[in-house]
Symmetry: C2
Subunit: 336 residues, 2 copies
């Protein structure tokens, strides 16, 4: 494994600390490596409006006593092209030039139309050696939400459901208007972690009526995703949990067609959405072949015998991982 | 999920940041939760000799402007019993009393003979309400190495190998004295990450002669594990890579029996060991039913047709996870 790969992997690792808090910004990590191959400083972007990764890495290195003369012989690694425009913070490319760096290694270009190669160009115009496209697949994977949104003009779509050992996601009869638990509390905590990672969460009307879910992050530390209800009739109970004050809630009318749902999600600037059911809503996305990942939980010792069947895993899905969570089985599929 | 479970899980999450650098100390995280349920401060133990988790959490809370009057109404969470003895740092239990806490939630007691209930007793003697045994299984899992060492008087033992799709770990013939790669560079980087997590790494003489491995962490950031060779004859080539200066190397004579190997590892105060082969050495631990985890990598498109067969997964092993790493399959087994 090359040095470039190794330090780029370090950028990706520390960048992932910002998952769930950087929206609408991407996940970015930066590492400054001295002439002897030692790390002089590192930093990542934690939250929109706060300093970018490169700024934090330079600050970290300076706090450790390094100055511009060390930077002249160092290499700055960053997994996404440094910005060249004034957003909430000044351009990072300018800072890198000013701090005297002669060499910068960039994972991938920024697909955002305000950057898109301009950051790299600005560095090269200042006679900085710039190497690009290092660990491209890994960089794309880390920022799959950001890239999907800007390249495909739709959010990254995660389908999630829990099913019994005999393949049901809900029983026929229920006593109360609340969820019927299929998985254990550790799986449910993991679901809350997943929610905290995505920018929005979506359910259909039937699930809203049957389960009265809150769709918030309670058993994990993180920001509540924006809640979305696919509601054709517009006559939902406003006293449902989903309309409490814990997070914003958006109604989208699905009767105008699937394309319209996708367009609406894009226009609300949502980079990712986790879809938690029910069967009809999950099938809508599967039938339109419009999904990126499927997260399937199975209560391996729970049997309903009858009920609402789980969706069928599509043929173009490939199992990426399978994990035991005590008695539950948790599988992640992506597109083959 | 209860509040206690939730904040204990947070302790475990941040504690895991110290994996590989805290030896001989355990992984500990601490969270201070205010009367409104907000986190006032948090911290974890990063390295032996540096402050314990509780000290870092209190310091963090104080830097955020909280003082003893806030602590009096707050709850301090910590996944392992606070220490009551003077080690490299003063006792944390004393500090907790001095800072005015009235409530402490502890994951599990510390099995170390110098603590073992004394920390909790010291707190209770100062009229602090102490709740213990929260998320016990998860606390034990996080510190599986520390607990195995202190309770079973042996290191936590991880068996690791890579095999071809047709089940071989090495070819019949080889041209050079170096490893023959079965898996891709991403799996190999992951192996270096695994090495950085364990305190020691062990191979048999045959692997040393055939592969001339370095057994160091090159493609990851971390401390090189102590290297161990099972060597009966004591006439190994001192110019082998395993004797370079990058990490300490210990020779253990296996001819005195298996019990003696285990005893020697314990006496060297090694809390964990990853065993990387070859077949004879891996089988030695399987036959003695003395292992805790098996990490099996498979190059799913590599066929040798003949060679040295991979060990057989024991019947009392249960697959905990299976993951694709590009073309490779990576499975983790634990004891059923």
């Amino acid at each position: 494994m090359s040095q470039h790969d190794k330090f780029m992997q370090r950028c990706l690792d520390i960048a992932s600390n910002g998952l769930g808090t950087t929206y609408p910004n991407p996940l970015v990590g930066s590492v400054i490596v001295g002439e002897n191959g030692d790390i002089l400083g590192e930093g990542f972007h934690y939250k929109s409006g706060q300093p970018h990764a490169e700024v934090n890495a330079i600050k970290d290195a300076e706090q450790r006593g390094w100055n511009d003369s060390a930077f002249a012989k160092a290499t700055l690694y960053v997994n996404l092209e440094p910005c060249s425009h004034h957003g909430k913070t000044p351009p990072c490319a300018d800072l890198i030039v000013r701090k005297g760096f002669n060499k910068v290694v960039v994972g991938t270009l920024d697909p955002h139309k305000k950057v898109a190669g301009r950051g790299v160009q600005l560095l090269r115009d200042s006679n900085i050696e710039v190497i690009t496209d290092v660990l491209v697949e890994e960089c794309n994977q880390l920022n799959k939400r950001f890239f999907t949104y800007h390249k495909n003009h739709r959010p990254f779509i995660v389908l999630k459901w829990a099913q019994t050992a005999d393949g049901f996601i809900a029983p026929v009869k229920r006593d109360k208007r609340e969820p019927v638990w299929i998985t254990n509390k550790y799986s449910r905590q993991l679901v809350h972690k997943l929610r905290a990672q995505e920018q929005s969460i979506l359910v259909g009307t039937n699930t809203l009526v049957a389960d009265n879910p809150s769709l918030t992050v309670r058993d994990w530390s993180g920001i509540n995703p924006t809640r979305i209800v696919l509601d054709a009739k517009g006559n939902l109970d406003v006293h449902s949990n989903i309309y409490n004050k814990e997070a914003p809630t958006i109604n989208i009318d699905p009767s105008n067609g699937f394309e319209n749902i996708i367009k609406s999600l894009y226009e609300h600037q949502l980079q990712s959405v986790i879809i938690e059911g029910g069967r009809k809503t999950l099938d809508l996305f599967i039938e339109n072949d419009c999904w990126d990942e499927i997260h399937q939980f199975m209560g391996a010792k729970i049997y309903f015998k009858e009920g609402i069947s789980a969706p069928i895993i599509p043929k173009n899905a490939i199992m990426k991982s399978r994990q035991l969570i005590k008695d539950d089985v948790y599988k992640i599929f992506s597109r083959s």
